[in-house]
Symmetry: C2
Subunit: 801 residues, 2 copies
């Protein structure tokens, strides 16, 4: 226990339970007598609803209710715009159930509640909706043209937002440039595809007038506030529990999905518990997605490769609605300059409505697109100027002595100025160069080419503003019975390992084993102040709040122990759940201290009997609790970051094209990353590896495909290609730890890091592999075998023998 | 709203719900699939158990389990001594289920769990227990003799505790006295007889490992701590809810009754919800009782009636066990000098085991006995010295300028010195004298006597140490959605009207209507620090904690409003749920302020949209929450009294004996009382009236009767005589308000006050009524018609025509 827990490679304590199948997901919650919901969803991307006839469905035995826009009372409204922004002059949000119009395939039109899911689904098929289909345009570049069919005809075009940010003086810099490189890149649409689809169950207790909702959400506190408001309940009367949740990746942070309000509504309305467990097809067609952006980026440079100015103009596909505002596009636009000291920037985006499922943040949230744009551009600039790709980056990277590095004029998603707080960008680049073996690579590549093989080295640098505010809180209590430490916060976990990493923060402060720290999140009944889990913010914001609270409890422990052991506070040591006097064998268990510091005795507790031996002799001198004191060992504190803290890293890969299948073979993949001080390198590596795997999916396999009518044609795991472990290479991770000066723990977020640079790295490697034979620059992800085939000289690809 | 709520006669807001039958008592909690428990109880006061055969019961269809001491694992132990004290050298506590011996009729021997209560009770009759009955002695004065049968044979006598306290120098004072009056008085055993018997239901959720217990207890936090300890669970994993509870009066504060631990145990053990609702007979034979004390009191006085010394030696019946220690006897012994300036006191008590249901505090807790002893003694002293009964009290009362008046050497039940903090005793006496019409009474009495009627005036003064620590807490939160104020504390209510009186305290501080304050108690899930409701302490301890918390929230409101309205804090007024700038029409609703002070926005909330108009322009200048600030409008604070605060009062009654039935007719009953500042005079009067009614029951009707074998012979409401409204006279209540200097609100407890002086008042009046014909001094309560008959001249009582 003298070992420091912060920074130790400790196994995730949640895993045994999850791996044994003992997780408690929403569908595992026992709700005797629960009804089940199923949705009728639009089969058209755009259509008018002429009529809805629910009579056949209602007549179906076992059906309890069928809800349409006509019988959901005050819920029949446009849902609120969660993040307003002045750049939106046509912000449209969805109704829980469609009224008159449908805007994407999969939009909920009616909800059927029945005794079980089978009946509910069968009855949903009996709801007769009379649609009148309308024209659609799925291609963003066509959708912004004057004659395009409109998603929302009340507005003259499909532009949801149009926003330009400027840093420095780009016009002057552009005029001074000696070289300009320009390219058009596109990252296409994908989806989070969490292992567990979305879930919601609700029960309204008419005895206590309390609404309990189990929601596989990333934001139980937000859901609680929203439901309380919608149903005009006091927040204390609404408890939202996010039980175990099988992955979120941003898809589960948006509130509300129709089911998240209609299931509680029906539970109140019908007086029965109700469950809705989204199926995989529904997750594909009904739960939010992200990624499609088309960037036209220009770099203005000197001949020696110093970038003087950056101009980017991109289209951002926001789907049929824009409930989350411009969050994704704004993150992309403020990440566009990557790690580079580019003093002059102009970045414009237009968010474009398409008749598709709405777009909200998915792990990476605009950063993969920005990284793809700037890194493909840096490669092209290097090529055009004849400069080595590592070297051109080295010349432009923000230097160590330039931190904190602010980008005047660029406001991040939190509304605050972009400011890279700390880093060792040059060192990270050098580490990547060495790790990937750049010095030896040209010889290897030449050798391969001589053998007719296509070997390339890819490279990409990424930055990530993490740890957004406004705040989180932490509550810590040492229990008198067991002496164990309970830690509560307002987050919700979807597999990140909070149970372990937050325990490590507390264990050090309080001198206990990590196994004696019990972390709770995702339950507004346990802690109800805070925001949510998103934006790689948990460790930064909650972690520091918990750390601050732990320091308060540490002080309480030391003072109480000093009093009970009759020693000065500076002679008290906290180790292994005991407070002791340095250099003596006098010690007391925390359970005893926790008992003694609550003037109410627990007669059943052995600790109480021991505590009486230490009861302060001053008992009769004043009130048992002095003014300002509170009973027990317990504290709550908050952390509110002044702005985002910027993590970063470099990916490099050696790839080879399999000429028979046109698949990509990874010979080596290195990842240098810096998320400040690491709480638990095992968990950091897990996050990086997971993100990287998801990034490889996005780079090579995963692609939401719409036909011309807006039907999602691969809404299943046979056609939507998630990589298996067999597709993920061995990845060599190297850590750098540059503490953030913005928070006491010096940590930065790591949840999204892994995925950001993969597309850019893979494209860089493929372009390098074919650079001697092809003009293809790989400006599009995911990269398909067809694209690779096209990049190879005709006749290269050979069918297997 | 400019009217002050504190002190206003506001109707109890809980009553409509309760009167309409919409209360939610334990038996109303829906627990689908719950099993039901019934107990096998000892039919012997003392016996050896030779064998227990549960096989027939287990074979009964519908029976799920039968528990005896042999299959309850670690629960088969002597339960803890809740309040230890060095005066006990033979402290014995009960086992949950009897092992080898039973010690009173009604003691639990086995618990049967079955599909419903009918089956459980039928099966309980099939449990075959082989008893070997032992000798018993019910009479305390015989039980302390050498040859008495022993309740606990491991100890040489039946003395559970022997304790003497001394104040001043009684030996010297006794030697100096000119007159001594000596008498033996007895108050006999009664029971709380709450409208709802005790209840417990439990459910262990194996998914979350959380134990939820609904317990009709006065002390949910204590029960939570005890259960957590017994089952080695963290306190966060145990939630104890005291729902609506139909009266407690002390009987429901003791933990644990066997059912309170065995029902949760079985719920864990069997994996099913389990309910146990005590029936009336069980409440009589199985739930704790109080009162029997035999005092031998001596007053040493001057001829002018100044009492120099008091000596009291009393026997206290503690029943078969002493789980609560000497609490009742200690309260009696430290209240023995009443309101009188008696500088020299010696008081000894012996707590005596009798083979009866255990004795723990019942409303009054030793005070009615002490009041009966000292007030009967003062009457006798007055008689003997030929001094008017008001006058002798006037001569001895503590004078206004003597407060605070300490009794050196006497430690109250909280272990702290007895110190009467404030009062106007002389004024109270004078008010009683006037109200009862003392000046006119001699003439009325003479007239009555001339008519052969027996008219008497009774009189008694009482004091009550109230508001014991150690502490309570209060939590206040203003909700963003509704702007309503939630107030939580660790108490539990059994009908006291906390919902109204605590709301009044908060309403004044926060400028809201009482109807917008929602008070919650009795749920460790809502607030889990604190002690319990007993000892007339709720208003004093929780009331002041809530007041302190309200002041913090008031300050938060003022500061936030000043910031939002851009006005100095001293120009902000809080009225009707709005903060406004004095003399202007600029105002904001609390819901808006509560929303704006939480940096997380609720997009659904209209208040949020309004709040954005007031959002501080300083948003970008620093973190949304400054260091040390917390989100929202919320505070927790604690109050820990330095010692008890002493309430007091005077009762006076004019009574007449109905010579036909020997019942007592009240012509007039006045009650002067002073509980410091009154939060709500309506509730104070209700408490006083309720206590007085219960006191009249104890004075004249209610009597637990044991036969020589220790069988309780009147364990039902036919034979145990609770007075109806018809037996309760009109009572004239007059208030005095002498603030306590010991707490910010200046309040004193009032919950037990009403009952304390009734026995002494009635006995005083009856003795006065017959003083011309009888030597009977009425030194025993309850006073039965037989006793009255005996006090009348032979032949006086006439059967009706």
């Amino acid at each position: 226990m003298s070992t420091r827990q912060f920074g130790a490679k400790i196994s995730r304590n949640i895993d045994p339970e999850l791996l044994r199948g003992e997780g408690k997901f929403t569908d595992d919650i026992p709700l005797p007598g629960a009804l089940h919901a199923a949705f009728v969803r639009s089969p058209f991307a755009r259509a008018r609803i002429e009529a809805i006839d629910t009579s056949d469905a209602l007549a179906c035995p076992g059906v309890v209710a069928v809800y349409t826009c006509d019988n959901i009372e005050h819920l029949d409204r446009e849902l609120p715009l969660l993040i307003p922004h002045p750049s939106m002059n046509n912000a449209r949000t969805q109704r829980p159930l469609a009224r008159e119009d449908v805007y994407y395939v999969g939009q909920p039109v009616a909800m059927v509640v029945a005794v079980n899911r089978y009946v509910a689904e069968d009855a949903a098929l009996l709801v007769d909706v009379d649609y009148d289909a309308l024209d659609v345009e799925l291609d963003m570049e066509k959708a912004i043209l004057d004659d395009a069919p409109l998603v929302h005809p009340s507005h003259p075009n499909n532009i949801a937002a149009d926003f330009t940010q400027v840093s420095g003086n780009p016009d002057t810099a552009i005029a001074a440039a000696e070289h300009v490189t320009k390219l058009r890149v596109q990252v296409d649409r994908s989806t989070a595809a969490p292992m567990e689809c979305r879930t919601v169950a609700a029960w309204f207790d008419h005895v206590s007038s309390e609404l309990t909702v189990w929601d596989g959400t990333q934001a139980p506190i937000g859901v609680r506030g929203g439901l309380a408001s919608l149903f005009d309940l006091d927040e204390d009367k609404v408890r939202v529990i996010a039980p175990h949740v099988g992955g979120g990746f941003g898809q589960k942070v948006m509130f509300p999905y129709a089911d998240e309000i209609l299931v509680p509504y029906a539970a109140i309305n019908l007086g029965k518990p109700i469950k809705y467990i989204e199926d995989r097809r529904e997750n594909f067609i009904g739960s939010n997605q992200e990624r499609t952006q088309i960037h036209t980026i220009e770099l203005y440079a000197t001949k020696s490769g110093e970038v003087l100015a950056l101009s980017d103009d991109f289209l951002h596909d926001t789907g049929a609605f824009i409930p989350y505002g411009i969050a994704v596009a704004q993150v992309a636009s403020t990440s566009i300059a990557g790690p580079y000291r580019i003093p002059n920037i102009r970045v414009r985006f237009r968010a474009v409505y398409t008749p598709t499922v709405p777009v909200t943040p998915y792990r990476g949230c605009g950063r993969p697109q920005a990284c793809f744009a700037i890194e493909r551009a840096m490669d092209q600039l290097a090529d055009e100027l004849g400069i080595d790709r590592f070297e051109i980056r080295r010349r432009n990277l923000i230097r160590d002595d330039e931190f904190p590095y602010a980008r005047d004029g660029l406001l991040f998603a939190d509304g605050l100025q972009v400011k890279h707080d700390s880093g060792q960008y040059l060192r990270a680049l050098e580490m990547a160069r060495e790790a990937i073996g750049w010095d030896d690579f040209p010889a290897k590549q030449a050798e391969a080419r001589a053998e007719g093989r296509y070997l390339g080295l890819g490279l990409a640098f990424y930055v990530e503003g993490t740890g957004l505010g406004p705040y989180e809180g932490g509550h810590i209590k040492i229990h008198p019975i067991t002496g164990k430490v309970y830690v509560n916060t307002g987050l919700a976990g979807q597999g990140q390992g909070h149970e372990t990493s937050f325990a490590q923060i507390v264990a050090d402060q309080l001198g206990v084993n990590v196994s004696d720290v019990i972390f709770r999140e995702g339950d507004t009944g346990a802690y109800d102040w805070g925001v949510a889990t998103f934006a790689s913010r948990a460790a930064v914001v909650s972690g520091n709040a918990i750390y601050k609270a732990a320091k308060v409890v540490r002080q309480q422990l030391v003072e109480a122990a000093a009093n009970m052991l009759e020693a000065p506070t500076d002679e008290i040591e906290l180790t292994d759940g005991y407070a002791s006097v340095k250099g003596t064998n006098r010690k007391i268990a925390y359970s005893t201290i926790a008992t003694a510091t609550n003037p109410l005795r627990y007669a059943f507790n052995e600790a109480a009997q021991i505590a009486t031996q230490f009861a302060p002799a001053s008992k009769h001198d004043g009130p048992p609790l002095a003014e300002g004191q509170h009973p027990g060992l317990e504290a709550t504190d908050y952390f509110s970051p002044s702005c985002a803290t910027w993590a970063y890293g470099v990916h490099a890969a050696i790839v080879e094209i399999d000429p028979v299948t046109c698949r990509v073979v990874f010979h080596k993949y290195v990842c240098i990353h810096d998320c400040g001080n690491m709480i638990n390198p095992t968990i950091v590596e897990g996050q990086v590896m997971g993100g990287l795997a998801q990034g490889i999916g996005g780079a090579l396999f995963e692609h939401i495909e719409f036909d011309d009518d807006g039907n999602l044609t691969n809404a299943n795991f046979v056609d939507f290609l998630i990589p298996y472990a067999t597709e993920i290479p061995d990845i060599e991770i190297q850590h750098l730890e540059t503490p953030s000066p913005l928070n006491p723990l010096g940590v930065k977020g790591v949840g999204e890091a892994g995925c950001i640079a993969v597309g850019a790295t893979v494209a860089s490697g493929l372009a390098d592999a074919v650079s001697h034979v092809s003009g293809s620059k790989f400006h599009y992800t995911p990269v398909t075998p067809d694209m690779i085939l096209e990049a190879l000289p005709q006749g290269t690809a050979q069918p297997p023998d």
